[in-house]
């Protein structure tokens, strides 16, 4: 491969925009074997790889890429799984451009290595070829661990601990495990079959997955200890939706992003009445917010037949919190971006359904605590938007149930659980926490990173506890 070739990334095919806005199939189609080989060959195999430092779970990236280059796909997937139990998920939804790929040396002279696409390739290859279940490595004393929440953080902890020989029981309040991977991220970005395959893998490793168990209601944390668990990991996520507190917010047709995505992803509302859960998606949909969740809700709306879909965001384009790739996908698909715009009021018809949204134009002022220029309303710039569905996607905070029902668990004023950055230990002995319930709404990979650390400390805690050292 010559110098010029090495500078250029291997493109990944996407489903044509004309087709994809009418279906829920995956947008990004993944690499073929040839494409993966070509991309893997670009890797410089740096002796001091900076990409690894950019990865929250420190995957040995050069090593897994080298295995692809040499055609050892199963070995490549195995290498990934040493660090990451959900490579097929991370290969699709990680913000690689701000993490591993941002650090890639090739990025200085051209395109960085497409690490996410290669990760996806290896994981997909292995899933299609048949996943081998590793032997348990029983090291030292083993214990019984409860995992609360089956999202990315919980799944990581469960996989890491069961491989070390512990007995692991995972509690999930919904009827499917997977957390946000199941109910939140739409099929066209993360197919549910892939999430299910990862859950099946965790079950095959021996994790007992109990769905329909809302911890804090059926059992408290202290009751789990009384029931013989040695340690507990809380990975209950950030599922409580934020609202704006403006007039008309309780009208019909005003959804939280959670409700909207749960009705679509988890309950298959778009197949109503074959499936029993209804959802009504109007002609003109406004999604309030600019993150990945907002992009997901907007793109779902389009696929479910909306004529016009707007992203209404109070800051500017370059301040969108969404991944650039997802914002681009949304733009390509015809989502209209109403930037520097903020809703102030919703209006409804006589049946109580939303039929309009009053907005105000914003301009950027001085930087705020987050370092971003703060949006300021332009007085008198109010205008009406004709909408019949509104999705509020302005973030989530942790569900307070476990915090409210557990004595001795320190929390912050934002409702997150206080846990040590390195050990994931909380203020309560034997209780560890990680993922969005600690960080506030963040990414899948950061939740997994926290899960890894938690699993390591839980293992050490159990060793100490059982051997009395």
């Amino acid at each position: 491969m010559d110098r010029e070739q090495r500078k250029q990334e291997t493109p990944m095919a996407k489903q044509d925009v004309v087709d994809r806005i009418h279906n829920f199939y995956e947008v990004a189609l993944g690499y073929t074997e040839e494409q993966a080989q070509r991309e893997a060959t670009r890797c410089l195999q740096c002796p001091n790889p900076r990409c690894v430092q950019g990865c929250p779970v420190n995957i040995d990236i050069p090593a897994f890429i080298k295995e692809i280059k040499e055609g050892n796909y199963r070995a490549s997937a195995a290498k990934l799984k040493e660090f990451n139990s959900l490579p097929a998920v991370c290969g699709r939804v990680c913000p690689q451009e701000n993490q591993c790929q941002e650090q890639c040396v090739l990025g200085k002279m051209g395109d960085p290595i497409s690490i996410g696409r290669l990760e996806r390739f290896a994981a997909d290859w292995e899933r299609n070829a048949g996943v081998e279940i590793p032997e348990k490595q029983v090291e030292g004393a083993t214990g019984k661990v409860a995992i609360v929440g089956s999202g990315p953080a919980g799944l990581t902890v469960a996989a890491d601990l069961i491989k070390q020989g512990h007995e692991v029981v995972m509690f999930e309040s919904l009827h499917y495990a997977g957390g946000v991977l199941m109910y939140g991220i739409p099929q066209f970005r993360l197919p549910k079959e892939i999430v299910q395959a990862e859950i099946d893998y965790i079950k095959k490793l021996g994790v007992d997955v109990k769905t329909n168990y809302t911890i804090g209601r059926i059992f408290t944390i202290d009751e789990l200890f009384a029931d013989g668990y040695d340690a507990i990991f809380i990975g209950s996520g950030a599922g409580l939706p934020n609202f704006m507190g403006i007039e008309g917010e309780n009208l019909g047709g005003v959804y939280s992003a959670n409700e909207y995505l749960i009705r679509i992803n988890l309950m298959k509302g778009y197949l109503f009445p074959e499936y029993d859960t209804p959802i009504r998606i109007g002609k003109n949909v406004a999604v309030i917010g600019g993150g990945n969740v907002a992009m997901d809700a907007a793109r779902c709306s389009l696929r479910l037949g909306a004529e016009k879909v707007y992203i209404v965001y109070r800051r500017a384009r370059e301040q969108l919190p969404a991944r650039e790739e997802e914002a681009e996908n949304a733009e390509e698909e015809g989502i209209i971006f109403n930037l520097l715009t903020n809703p102030v009021k919703f209006t409804g018809d006589e049946s109580g359904w939303v039929n309009g949204m009053e907005c105000i134009k914003m301009e950027l002022g001085e930087p705020d605590a987050s370092g971003r220029r703060r949006p300021v309303a332009i007085e008198g710039s109010n205008f009406m938007m004709d909408v019949d569905t509104v999705v509020i996607a302005i973030g989530q905070t942790p569900n307070p149930l476990i915090q409210r029902t557990t004595d001795g668990l320190e929390t912050t004023k934002w409702g997150t659980i206080v846990a040590d950055d390195e050990t994931a230990a909380t203020s309560k002995e034997g209780v560890y926490a990680g993922g969005d319930v600690v960080s506030g709404a963040a990414t899948v990979i950061s939740a997994m990173g926290a899960g890894r650390k938690a699993a390591k400390s839980i293992h050490e805690y159990i060793q100490k506890k059982k051997t009395g050292q």
Partner: protein
């Protein structure tokens, strides 16, 4: 899968079911609810708990077969299983020694009301109970409520038994002093009774069966304005002081999916009322 231990049609289209849920039973209290999902295509339906049997490890609930999902559920027999049975959810009802308590139940809600009434009786309250139904044939839990009541009234919409309508409750409130009131029924009933207790500033706890999807605080579909603040019925309730509840907003929110529900029910009936699904 969760096994149906017993099932009984206690009034036309009103079914009492008892489900094996050994982990849930000891944790369940009056006022809490469960979410059922009968099969893989089913909706998540919240139902208030009507009782538990700790020996058998079962939880009971009652439902009115009015929509597609509940009509389908009505066909299930004892011995069969449903896919999901999640709970207990929501906060337990306030149960203590209040003194004299007015209890009003309407239709299917008389079953969970009886569960609360029994707990109140154990706390030595004096209970004045109103058991309401559409007609004399639609009465639910009449005998059971009568058995725990110190004073018992029956009301029907058509006057075929007892009082006609609920207006007579105004007279009861005028004649007696209450320390606490509990109403369980359709939102229109809750609103009506609260309008009568409001002049006495009588704390009137109402159980809000708002629209819900997950029932654990995630979707926000069950949001309701209580005392000017947004509350989630699943997390903050389902029991609230009715004096503070914005019932008109709640009624409006309850109705938003009526067209879809009617359509689903119509298609279901056209298909001969059966969509047994794998």
């Amino acid at each position: 899968m969760f096994k149906i231990v017993s099932k009984e049609e206690i009034a036309p289209n009103i079914h009492l079911i008892e489900i094996a849920a050994p982990d849930m039973a000891p944790k369940s209290h009056p006022g809490q609810f469960v979410i059922i999902r009968i099969d893989d295509k089913g909706e998540r339906v919240p139902l208030t708990i009507a009782g538990v049997d700790l020996q058998k490890g079962t939880v009971s609930t009652a439902f009115h077969a009015v929509g597609k999902t509940t009509k389908e559920f009505a066909k299930y027999k004892a011995g069969e299983s449903i896919m999901d049975f999640s709970g207990p959810l929501g906060n337990p009802a306030e149960v203590e020694n209040f003194g004299k308590v007015l209890l009003v139940g309407a239709g299917v809600w008389c079953a969970p009301l009886h569960y609360t009434a029994t707990a109140l009786k154990k706390n030595n309250n004096k209970l004045v109970v109103v058991c309401a139904g559409r007609t004399k044939n639609d009465m639910v839990y009449e005998n059971q409520l009568k058995a725990v009541a110190d004073e018992f009234h029956v009301a029907t919409d058509d006057g075929s038994k007892g009082n006609q309508g609920l207006d007579f409750i105004a007279d009861i409130l005028k004649a007696q002093k209450f320390d606490h009131a509990i109403v369980m029924g359709p939102v229109s009933t809750l609103k009506k009774v609260v309008e009568m207790t409001k002049p006495y500033n009588l704390k009137t706890m109402v159980t809000l069966a708002s629209l819900m999807v997950d029932g654990t605080g995630m979707c926000g579909a069950c949001r309701v304005t209580v005392g000017g603040e947004m509350k989630f019925a699943c997390m903050d309730g389902p029991e609230f002081n009715g004096l503070d509840v914005d019932f008109d907003e709640l009624i409006s929110r309850q109705r938003v999916y009526l067209p879809e529900e009617r359509m689903a029910s119509m298609i279901y009936e056209k298909l001969g009322g059966s969509v047994k699904r794998g």
